[in-house]
């Protein structure tokens, strides 16, 4: 017993005197875990992007070649697909921001405790069901003879043909990721002290001006945090384009998926996958400026 205690005391004293060593021993294991699982995977991807594939046997040829990137640059289709992916991710983020605000505001500021719990549950419950089941449900809703057209014809409006199109993808993505926008905005709204709004009212500001000059700036970090989720989740998806997309609906993820799972050209997939990595880096820098990381 005594030996153990002195051993512990010695260790503790050593840590006290050499703070750096104490920090290393505390953070070392998580850092190794992070390096191995996360950085190594990204590193492997970046290295593979410069490899080649033998056409006939399908074997990887290690080395350094820029030919994957030159195909990506020279063939306009990959630019079109990249622009489409980023554009739809941005459109989904915008739609979710617009839809999430009134809901989050009502949930935090207007609803009583009981209603608030119910609204919170309504936001979270869809996340408990399978992603695929929800996408398939939308496929049935938007189909030619689906619920949407049935409802439209019931009220005398001609049917719309948006099943299997980029519009369908926009709607489905906006639906799928809405909870990820509502939750951070609600959290940010909750943190605004009520007396700021009272002060604004005392100083003669009307509701809309209070919103614009007090609530919106203070909740902006929350919205930026939500945008990180909606944007990155859309940017990396390939299942929804596959299921509800039509012609000209491929995402970067679909090209990556096809090159890995279908044509077995992993280096080309890796080269294309570096693009969303760059896009996300830029997006995160912007989000940090808006204070998203303080709100997370």
């Amino acid at each position: 017993m005594k030996a153990t205690r002195t051993w512990r005391a010695a260790l503790s004293a050593f840590g006290w005197r050499h703070g750096v060593m104490a920090n290393i021993s505390l953070l070392g294991l998580p850092a190794v875990w992070f390096a191995c699982l996360y950085l190594a995977a990204i590193g492997a991807m970046l290295v593979t992007a410069f490899w080649q594939v033998d056409d006939l046997s399908g074997n990887l040829i290690p080395g350094f070649s820029l030919s994957n990137f030159s195909v990506l640059v020279s063939d306009p289709i990959y630019r079109i697909i990249a622009v489409r992916t980023v554009f739809i991710a941005a459109a989904v983020t915008l739609a979710d921001a617009v839809l999430a605000w009134p809901f989050a505001y009502a949930m935090v500021r207007l609803a009583g405790p009981k209603l608030r719990a119910v609204l919170m549950a309504l936001v979270l419950v869809p996340l408990w069901s399978s992603y695929l089941a929800r996408v398939y449900a939308w496929r049935l809703i938007l189909a030619h003879d689906g619920v949407l057209n049935w409802a439209l014809s019931a009220i005398g409006i001609p049917g719309v043909h948006i099943g299997y199109s980029n519009w369908a993808m926009w709607i489905v993505f906006s639906y799928l990721w809405l909870p990820f926008m509502i939750l951070p905005i609600a959290a940010a709204l909750e943190r605004i002290p009520p007396n700021l709004m009272e002060a604004s009212a005392d100083l003669g500001e009307r509701g809309l001006a209070t919103f614009r000059r007090v609530i919106l700036p203070l909740a902006l970090p929350g919205m930026a945090a939500g945008a990180i989720f909606t944007f990155s989740l859309t940017l990396g998806d390939f299942v929804t384009p596959m299921l509800v997309g039509g012609t000209g609906s491929d995402f970067i993820g679909n090209v990556v998926y096809a090159n890995v799972g279908v044509t077995n050209n992993i280096p080309f997939a890796a080269a294309y996958a570096t693009l969303p990595l760059g896009v996300m880096a830029v997006f995160l820098l912007l989000a940090r400026r808006l204070g998203a990381f303080d709100a997370l």
Binding site: G58, G246, T263
Partner: protein, 382 residues
């Protein structure tokens, strides 16, 4: 086959030795000399509809091999799956003719001891040693079933069957057409152009030079604006026709059978330009962990009974000539309906899927290989 097993082996080894520069890895491997005790498990990669309970359950009961089936939507996916991991994830694959050579030259599949497959001697002659699964006399697989890619149409939109593939390129049906999301679909357009624009000089829809490919791509880019959706799985197309989103498209007989069984008003036809088609082969992975079960499976599915069940279920034609009688027994008139008794000329008129390669039949090296087809396909569908 009256040859003694030993003599047979010797011949095979000589044949394999001749292949050395071509397929060294495969040559290092001798085929199974006898079917031993089953390993209890069998992992297969197959087309949708190729591992139905109707014949899988009796197989499992008879051999003790539990079947795990993974469905693939395209030949590319099959090749990728057989190469995934170390190549030892799956034992068997039902590869079509556009995948078989890639698997053989990629050393992903092993030679077959055809002496262990009794049904083989009853196959139609064209499928006993076709060049897409037999290289220099060495069998790398056992033929299974074959059939044409058909034109599927809604009978309400088309009271009379269309006689030309032109309907899937017709702006009249904009937004109601569906074709497979598969680079080999380029061959369908090439076949159509070989008949409608003979000046292009397309002899074989799988051997296209750049000039011919450009013409085909132009046609397919125009078609892309008319397409509702490129289908990836047969079930996608079935849903498109069920919901009425598509009224005409390229399909397999399987979709027609499934849709008709669900009372959807559809029918299919082979238009006057002819059709592309598939001839499938069961191939065993070179690193198959369960080779005995794999041989048991091949023997099981080449019996006339299973050949007939498969043919009727999928709407294709069996390789085993003895299956005809069995088909009629299972469903009156089925043998004639699925061309089980068709003359050799019927087989010869179908342009079977094969892997496009640089080397053309004309002796020149100016054709586009399959990776070029894949790039063209990506730029067509956008």
């Amino acid at each position: 086959m009256t040859m003694q097993p030993k003599k047979w082996m010797a011949r095979l080894l000589v044949g394999v030795a001749g292949l050395l520069p071509l397929a060294q890895g495969a040559a290092a491997m001798a085929p199974l000399s006898a079917i031993g005790k089953g390993e209890g498990t069998l992992n297969i990669v197959a087309w949708e509809g190729y591992a139905q309970d109707d014949w899988v359950k009796p197989f499992e009961a008879a051999t003790g091999c539990t079947v795990h089936a993974k469905y693939a939507g395209s030949s590319d996916e099959m090749v990728a799956l057989m190469r995934s991991g170390n190549g030892d994830q799956y034992d068997l694959v039902s590869a079509s003719g556009d995948a078989t050579l890639r698997l053989i030259f990629g050393k992903n599949v092993q030679p077959i001891n055809i002496g262990l497959i009794p049904a083989w001697k009853n196959f139609i002659p064209q499928l006993q040693a076709p060049d897409f699964n037999t290289v220099k006399g060495v069998h790398y697989g056992v033929s299974y079933e074959w059939g044409p890619n058909t034109l599927l149409y809604n009978t309400k939109t088309f009271p009379v069957a269309p006689t030309s593939w032109s309907v899937i390129y017709d702006p009249k049906y904009k937004g109601q057409i569906t074709v497979p999301d598969n680079p080999i679909q380029i061959a369908d357009a090439a076949l159509y152009l070989s008949k409608t624009q003979p000046a292009l000089g397309i002899k074989d829809p799988y051997e296209l030079n750049q000039m011919q490919m450009d013409a085909v791509v132009k046609l397919l880019q125009r078609q892309a604006k008319l397409i509702k959706k490129y289908w990836a799985l047969a079930s996608d197309e079935i849903q498109l026709f069920t919901s009425g989103d598509a009224v005409v498209g390229a399909a397999w007989p399987y979709q027609t059978n499934t849709l008709q069984a669900a009372k959807v008003p559809v029918a299919d036809t082979i238009p006057s330009e002819g059709a592309t088609g598939w001839a499938d082969t069961w191939m065993i992975s070179s690193k198959a962990p369960h080779p005995n079960c794999a041989y048991e499976w091949i023997n099981w599915v080449t019996t006339p009974k299973v050949q007939a069940q498969q043919a009727i279920y999928f709407g294709e034609t069996p390789a085993n000539t003895l299956a005809c009688k069995e088909m009629d027994a299972q469903q009156a008139g089925a043998c004639a309906q699925y061309h089980g008794d068709a003359p050799a000329s019927y087989f010869d008129q179908i342009k079977f899927w094969k892997t496009p390669r640089k080397v053309c039949g004309n002796g020149k090296d100016d054709c586009l290989d399959y990776s070029a087809w894949q790039r063209e396909w990506q730029s067509i569908k956008g």
